[in-house]
Amino acid sequence: GAGVSQSPSNKVTEKGKDVELRCDPISGHTALYWYRQRLGQGLEFLIYFQGNSAPDKSGLPSDRFSAERTGESVSTLTIQRTQQEDSAVYLCASSPLTVHGYTFGSGTRLTVV
């Protein structure tokens, strides 16, 4: 597609429920990144994909967080047993490897109540 697409744009969930956030990167972009942005704060790196593998998972805050990528395209970020501190905007970005910097999606705003 023309840009990085994320769905849903907004998600309200009850504490303890699992959620899945989806990212469709720009076609042909081999690198894919997930970031988290809490209210009034900067961007916190979560995970990086190169193709379908994740060589850098160092930012995942706990084992409740996981992500996968299939077909070198769509990626899903799953948060199990959500907690209120998980409330944030989750941003996805993609990039060709030969280009410095990347393109962001509009994000998914997750609210845990």
Partner: protein, 114 residues
């Protein structure tokens, strides 16, 4: 580890005046530096980047940034601010060891008054 610092949480400027949003960096090796802008309820948009070459980098929407190696700074500038420039601005540096992962500053909110 690579890092950037944005010392100002907020910058206020009157429309038509020049603006500067500050960023300093700490890297090992040559820095790859970026500026992104975030409008309300939107994702981040790329403004400009410094990889190598001319220290003055020109980007989108009339913005430019000056790379200063001796001061380890990469301040964002615009000669004449517009009300529509009001947004959240992030400086970022590429993590040399981190597969092109960008490390972001905490952001600076720019408010341009009419």
């Amino acid at each position: 580890a690579q890092s950037v610092a944005q010392p100002e949480d907020q910058v206020n400027v009157a429309e038509g005046n020049p603006l500067t949003v500050k960023c300093t960096y700490s890297v090992s090796g040559n820095p790859y530096l970026f500026w992104y802008v975030q409008y309300p309820n939107r994702g981040l948009q790329f403004l400009l980047k410094y990889i190598t070459g001319d220290n003055l980098v020109k980007g989108s929407y009339g913005f430019e940034a000056e790379f200063n190696k001796s001061q380890t700074s990469f301040h964002l500038k615009k000669p004449s601010a517009l009300v529509s420039d009001s947004a959240l601005y992030f400086c970022a540096v590429r993590d040399v060891a981190g597969f092109q992962k960008l490390v972001f500053g905490t952001g600076t909110r720019l408010l341009v008054s009419p």
